[in-house]
């Protein structure tokens, strides 16, 4: 049985501390290839850098099930050298610029340290403090005379993985949680399906890896394993928070709809029935904005019935996100149970 234990948490730590900005996923790709080696029947790296691996089932009429987890994360690219170790930078993927000042960062394959500062409070006016600190005033400061970094290098926050009580705290839990889940599912693949694993690139800048990966696999079913925001904080005015998206601790989030896809209702039903019968906690992600690889998958080829199962996590796309270990474990348990009972009859059933 696939499980989340110390070994899987260690792997998550290694993956979260690695840097893989969209378009520059090599560091995570190397870890993925190393981890799945010997556990798959086929593996290749495609034109965009996706890792596409197949673990064949043993049955006669097996469904081809594509599972995706994206390797990339949001971050920065250095775009100009101001001299004295100071660099201008642009964002890769959706980062709120209010999350940038005052942070330590790491740049390039060698993880060269730098910091993002700002004008000290002593020198700012009250009016100035009513405005966000603009991106074009910020610099990545790597120290005078630094010759180890250059424009074009990618980087992100220097956060180190840690655990606190029931929680995991790290950068890029979106989507290293999904990456470890998928590695674990490959290592313990249910015999009744052909598992088509796509460790995708460029999810954060438009689901681009998933688009070509799904075309290549042409699966019967697509499932995106991702991390989804939990905005389950109190509202400033004490009113009920009814825009939480998901809540930590309530289990894996099953997607019914986001701005990229209306999930296939047969797949939603299959997941819900599985969770109910196995007494695995789950929640529905609140239908609304946002999208993940499922949005690209279901549009591939002649259309692929697709859905997403995601781990709730707070503070997505910031220096530190927070997820609950139990939610992650239950996500894996739900997927494992669902894939084990999956038969071709599901796709023959009424849609709704």
């Amino acid at each position: 049985m696939p499980t989340i234990g110390n070994q899987q948490i260690k792997l998550l730590e290694r993956l979260c501390n690695a840097i893989a900005i969209s378009g520059d996923e090599g560091e995570v790709r190397a870890i993925v290839l190393e981890e799945i080696k010997g556990h798959v029947d086929e593996v290749r790296v495609d034109a965009l850098g996706n890792v596409l691996a197949v673990k064949k089932g043993t049955g006669k009429k097996t469904l081809r099930v594509m599972l995706s987890a994206h390797m990339d994360e949001v971050g920065f690219m250095l775009v100009a050298d101001d001299g004295e170790g100071l660099f201008r930078f642009e964002l890769v993927g959706g980062i709120d610029i209010r999350q940038l000042p005052g942070k330590a960062v790491l740049i390039g394959r060698d993880h060269v340290p730098g910091v993002i500062g700002a004008r000290p409070i002593h020198l700012t006016s009250r009016e100035e403090r009513q405005e966000k600190i603009p991106l074009d005033t910020l610099r990545i400061d790597t120290g005078p005379g630094n010759s180890k970094v250059k424009p074009g290098d990618r980087g992100t926050f220097a956060t180190r993985f840690q655990q606190s009580g029931p929680s995991l705290m790290a950068k890029s839990l979106d989507d290293r949680l999904g990456v470890v889940t998928l590695i674990e599912l490959i290592k313990h693949a249910p015999a009744g399906i052909d598992l088509q694993a796509a460790f995708t690139v460029q999810e954060e800048i438009g689901l681009r890896g998933a688009k070509v990966a799904t075309y290549a696999f042409n699966p019967d079913i697509g499932i995106a394993l991702d991390a989804t925001p939990a905005n389950d904080l109190p509202s400033w005015d004490g009113l009920e928070n009814n825009t939480y998206n998901t809540k930590l601790g309530l289990g894996p989030a099953i997607y019914i709809a986001d701005s990229g896809i209306l999930s296939d209702p047969r797949l939603v039903r299959w997941l819900v029935e599985t969770a109910d019968s196995r007494k695995i906690p789950y929640q529905f992600r609140q239908p609304g904005g946002g999208r993940n690889d499922a949005g690209a998958m279901h549009l591939a080829q002649a259309g692929i019935p697709s859905v997403s199962v995601s781990v709730p996590h707070r503070y997505s796309h910031t220096a530190i996100s927070v997820a609950r270990l139990e939610d992650w474990k239950n996500s894996l348990a739900l997927l494992q149970a669902a894939l084990t009972r999956l038969t071709p009859e599901l796709l023959a059933s009424e849609r709704a």
């Binding site: 999350q99 000042p101 005052g102 942070k103 000290p120 790597t142 005078p144 005379g145 029931p166 400033w236």
Partner: protein, 357 residues
């Protein structure tokens, strides 16, 4: 000679928010004990080391004051397992979202250090003007990753919250981290004390690590009154040129300490220190301080009947942020400058301190 970088890393890794300086005080006390003849604590928490001079008693004395307290945050309440916070000292709330912190919890009579981060709630949970603008400190929260009932049990109002950023060595012999304001100057004073081991000085030297500078110069006021030195030299960080900071108030990083002039500094002391820097061939910059120096010097100068005061600055980038940056060389130079100045103080120094000359 102390290895400066490891000592600075120890200093900035130790908690010591204003009013709660004990942990960092212990580190400084251990380092200073072999370098001074007497060491004691002031009434409001300053650490006061005395190094005897070789002159005839009663000897004049020079006090070198460096504040050791750090800015940070304090818990004001708990809502659904999240901590509400206010600032201790000057904090720009705009740099807080996503910042790692340590919560020094004291609930149930047990002291613990909890990991946490400052979080900016999602837009719909904020007042309209903050949804896409800066979020006020009162609307930011700290998440410890613990369950609400655990938080309620462990944390209480008034618990301290400090930045948790680890020290980072950057290129060009620079160090980044929080609380380098003003532990960098504590480092410079330590360099000075070590230099004084190898030379003579006729004046008594009071090395003081002051408390509560960031919340109103309390430690400096109190220690200056108690010690009653003949002159006072305050070492504090000043603004280094860098992103967002390039005007006359900022000085090049790594190009030497600053020697300040203005109403807060005695002109004769300024002149003497500048002369010392020139004679040692140490690079420095003149810092123009038209009014309040923003340092302990503002308090030392008006202690008792008035104490001639001078302020020496160490340029630092990103002041009051978790990633302040300082050049190691500037700290060493400030220490050597102080030691040179102190050992040059003769019995007739005060007679030369004449106004309008």
């Amino acid at each position: 000679m102390t290895e400066l970088i490891p000592f600075l890393k120890d200093l900035i890794s130790a908690p010591g928010l204003s009013g709660y300086e004990d942990p960092v005080t212990k580190i400084i006390e251990d380092k200073w004990r072999p370098l001074v003849n007497e060491i004691s604590r002031g009434k409001t928490g300053s650490l006061q080391g005395l190094r005897h001079g070789t002159g005839e008693a009663p000897r004049p004395s020079v006090m070198v004051a460096t504040h050791m307290d750090a800015i940070g945050l304090m818990v004001t309440g708990i809502t659904e397992g999240f901590l509400r916070i206010s600032e201790v000292g000057g904090v720009d709330a705009r740099i807080l979202p996503g910042t790692p912190v340590n919560v020094f919890s004291t609930g149930a009579g047990v002291a613990k250090v909890l990991h946490g981060l400052v979080t900016q709630p999602s837009a719909p949970l904020l007042p309209e003007q903050e949804r896409d603008g800066p979020v006020a400190l009162g609307n930011l929260l700290v998440d410890t990753g613990l369950l609400p009932r655990q938080v309620t049990e462990l944390v209480r109002t008034g618990d301290l919250v400090s930045f948790a950023q680890s020290p980072v060595e950057l290129s060009g012999e620079t160090l980044s981290g929080h609380s380098l304001d003003n532990r960098a100057s504590v480092g410079a004073l330590t360099v000075c004390l070590e230099e004084l081991q190898t030379r003579t000085h006729s004046w008594d030297v009071w090395a003081v690590a002051t408390s509560q500078e960031e919340v109103g110069l309390l430690g400096a006021s109190s220690s200056t009154y108690q010690i009653h030195p003949t002159i006072a030299i305050v070492v504090d960080v000043t603004f280094a040129k860098g992103p967002g900071t390039s005007d006359w108030q900022a000085f090049p990083l790594g190009k030497g300490p600053t020697i300040a002039m203005g109403p807060n500094m005695h002109p004769a002391l300024h002149k003497a220190m500048q002369g010392m820097a020139d004679s040692l061939e140490l690079p420095y910059a003149l810092e123009f301080s038209p009014s309040h120096s923003g340092t302990d010097g503002w308090a030392t100068q008006v202690s008792a009947e008035g104490i001639p005061t001078l302020v020496v600055g160490i340029p630092l980038r990103y002041m009051h942020m978790p990633v302040e940056v300082v050049a190691i060389k500037d700290i060493q130079r400030a220490g050597r400058l102080l030691a040179g100045f102190i050992s040059s103080l003769g019995p007739d120094f005060m007679e030369k301190m004449v106004w309008d000359k």
